[in-house]
Symmetry: D2
């Protein structure tokens, strides 16, 4: 297999990111088909990146024997069926997070993948960000000793539309899920218990929609470490994505990414420009890297760097966090999904 | 009253700091007497800073009509009696934190102060640190809008001796108490509930002594804001004292203080020297400022910047934090001390 | 003209950078032919990026009527002939710096371009770097008032091979030339006089080869501002590329670019990783941007952002800097090339 | 000699700084007399710091056998006579910079000191600043190898009154002199040649007064290193005092000092407060340290850390810099003062 032939389901915002990266930054792979129920979107993307085939249904991709692997970039509720279809067709799968919003669906999809023996990678792209990857490496390499305390700051520049919030499954499944993955990834240890403190401080309408917009989630890790995730739906200065780990031998912390490193001094203050605005800019490189590693894993028959189980556990954590918020008590993950 | 005559009880480490500051950095005041049951320590300090009188008992100070105000820098268990004696003698009082380790003692001491109508200031010196004062000012001036999320990082370079830990009243009364004060001070709002997650990660002997050495304490404020305090008894890189506040209109964060601002680039990395080692170096200026403001408050008959109530509430918070840790549930402050 | 057809002469290091960028990051253009006297290099590049034609001589490109524009990425001594050939063939030209090493050759090439009326852009890619572009914007927008003092720090991680140094034309034509361009670009004013102080401190062999490896070049601008360029052939911590401008209303300075923004604190020091190693990493984005703007300028018939005159003047500055070094006196640019 | 008795001539701005430091931060010394031809200023200072004697003439101090050492903080033109008088009286001397404005006067004063065998320290306080001392230590300890390139940025927040500029001896004797000392101090090597580029960009009236307000001074060191001093009479963001050294094994650079380390993020930018405003704030600690080391040198009969020769050479450099500016050519120091 010299070049991997990929088909993608979903020509929306994240599908466009993947298409651009496949055109230029992912060696050894070729995007040969794009499907979207909004057929015009599929056609437009096909035209833009010289993708040979555009379809209005995912089956056309699943049915094409020339396609080696499928990228699932469609709406979350379509993920399980496409995963199962792709697995049945013997195709490797790259699926955006979350796999699904219910554990039953996730377990069904993962069982299908297991049975088919195909590879599955979940789109937790932030693991591939240079800053967070550096933190992980520091911990793996022992640069800071045994981890004791973890901070994850994860704030959006502004809340999504209320229409989206209503169907998103809540802040924990929609936003914190990336941070739940990051917590496990960085520390290399599972979370056993969460305690959530939440509030509606950004926009009362979010509260009326049944969600919160501000949260602190305490994490207790199997290795004894403690952690806290800080989420806000709005940081007026822009996308705020930092982590910090205190270990027995040192600490590591990361800064945001900025469009430039210029510092301006005036008679009023010393200032710099705001950080990169949102995830498309901030994580541009990580989207390319995750696909490149997926392709490498398939081509060289190696495990993918973000497995199905890696996609499942953050959903368990999100459910536990929501339960903790509502019941005002710490919740063990094995209450949600017995180990 | 042109110059305020001060007597100090306690010639230990913090007493020496106060004596040095009074000699040079606190205008309008003169330290005229020092008492310590370790008489030699009192004599030594008197010799070093030209303090006219040295005693081996606090009563000698309380009985001297020429003394306007008393600095209480002796062991915590002696505080209530000295406060009550000073109040009875009509002397103003500057007392190190905590006032006492039990609410009953604190309430007794504060009642005596109230009855006597003397001024009382508690030694929460960190409020006078340039960084934290700047954060407070940003919030008061509306530079970051309404506060939503607070982080306090407060880590010591190393744990105190086990002998001290055993009598300290626990990490919350000994170490976190400064952070409890800081939380109230910065946000200008009371904490109504705490939830504590704690661990013994630094030294098992601390656990055997009945204490913890690593903690995350979640705070819920009356104004709706959320906060988290991060405590560790050991950060190998030194004293780590930072805060960060996200507000509706912006955010403010502070860095540690360093002995110099030099950055060295070598073939291995870009580096700088470690932060100032511990509280005597880091908070040197704040110790001088708190005394200067105490003297000003007394001389100009104004309220002190850190009142008796400011000394009492962090103790309530510490007791609530300990209760939360032991009962693994959020604890409201009014469970400890009905409002 | 919907898509611009480009031919490139030179399949070496910089040619490879351009080929990769044209494959992915330069909308509206297609690289249709590559020529190199090392024919295998041309073939390899053609294979890697699906370039339809590979040749062993530049004439094949100049003779192809389907080619709209030529990228000149071959050895400096071949530039004038290729520019003149391309101009005669009515093709637009993107040429790497320097245009040539003698003013006579440069003037000949520029005259040919003028006569043919084709567009010419010189590869001073650093103008497109986010940091330096931000400095230029600050000056244009008046963020720092009138410029008074300019510092350019420009240090390589290590010297090139001696064999290269011997034919490079010297440090001013090879290395400082980028800084000469940057000085004019940032301040928007011409340099009228230079004074050079130079030394051999990095490697005596460089001195034996007739060159220097360390230099400070003072600049006097037509608008009265003063500037200094700091060059070293070796900074052991890596590629050091910073500028700083003091103006009447403020100052702006830029930092290097780093692979990540992680900061590690240990018991020894606070540290971060070294900056991006050399120009291919540091200026990766600027190489893509300069080509994109060249393509835009041609397609929309607008002036190119780096003109032939922009390519000529830094050579005049380099010759003046060398003369100043040898004669130990300030040298006006009009001594080299009468205005 | 348990406590050193000091007399000070000059109760102006810098005299007040010394008096405050002697009251609190210089162990082992006592300021017993203050003289100023403005007698009221002397009296005021005496009252403020409990200085036993105030005089309206320096002779009263020189004549007092109980005084061990004299601090010369009066106007520059009075320095030589007071130094000579103090030396004749066998008193050690701490003298503000510059010793005098002419080499003849300086040489006379230094000869008197030599003959008397008393100790002399010159007030180049910046050597004692934590940042610059750290740079010196890095070089002495070999942290950055052999120095190759030095940058000194030294900018005032605003120009002094024109009346002062007219009598100051010019920017090189008044302002750059500190940087000339810093250059020698940091590199531990003498400057052999200077080349000056200067301009009037801040205020035309400074030019009309015969001075410049903006300068770049190139330095060539005996050890082969090159350096540049950047001076401006006005940086609107405040006092800018930084140095940077590139060495064969690394580099070191220093930042300014700030009143706090708080960083504020808003919807407009990331900002911090301006640096400490001017030299009294920025160098507060260094003024105390220089006196403490002077006292130690006298008490323990050790060489002072800033000798008479250290006071003389920067004047030679200033004269050479002025000559270079006027003659538009590099000037060797041995043209001014044969070695």
């Amino acid at each position: 297999m010299t070049t991997l032939n990929l088909g993608m389901v979903g020509a929306g915002r994240i599908g466009q990111v993947h298409a651009a990266n496949l055109a230029a930054r992912v060696p050894g792979a070729r995007l040969v088909a794009i499907a979207d129920i909004a057929f015009e979107a599929a056609q437009r993307l096909a035209g833009q990146y010289n993708i040979p085939h555009a379809y209005d249904n995912p089956e056309a991709i699943l049915d094409d024997p020339a396609i080696d692997a499928v990228i699932v970039a469609s709406a979350t509720d379509t993920h399980p069926a496409i995963i199962e279809g792709a697995a049945a067709a013997g195709k490797h799968i790259f699926c955006e997070k979350p796999i699904a919003r219910s554990l039953a669906e996730i377990d069904g999809a993962l069982a299908a993948v297991d049975k088919a023996g195909v590879k599955l990678q979940i789109g937790f792209n932030r693991r591939f960000d240079a800053n967070f990857a550096r933190v992980r490496r520091a911990i793996v390499d022992g640069e800071i000793g045994q981890p004791h305390l973890l901070h994850i700051i994860s704030r959006d520049p502004g809340p999504p539309p209320l229409s989206y919030i209503r169907v998103s499954g809540g802040i924990f499944l929609d936003m914190t899920i990336h941070d739940f993955d990051m917590a496990r990834f960085l520390l290399g240890s599972e979370v056993v218990e969460v305690y959530t403190s939440g509030a509606v401080l950004v926009d009362p309408a979010i509260g009326e929609a049944g969600d919160i917009d501000t949260a602190l989630v305490l994490l207790t890790f199997a290795n004894g470490a403690l952690g806290v995730i800080d989420n806000s739906r709005r940081a007026v200065y822009g996308y705020d994505q930092r982590v910090e780990v205190l270990g027995s031998g040192g600490a590591i912390q990361t800064e945001n990414k900025y469009p430039n490193a210029a510092v301006i001094s005036t008679g009023d203050h010393i200032r710099r420009d705001l950080p990169l605005h949102f995830f498309l800019e901030r994580y541009a490189d990580s989207f390319a890297l995750e696909l490149a590693q997926f392709v490498e894993a398939v081509v060289h028959d190696r495990p993918t760097p973000v497995t199905g189980e890696d996609g499942r556990i953050p959903v368990v954590m999100a459910l536990a966090a929501a339960k903790s918020l509502h019941e005002k008590r710490p919740v063990r993950l094995d209450e949600i999904a017995p180990a």
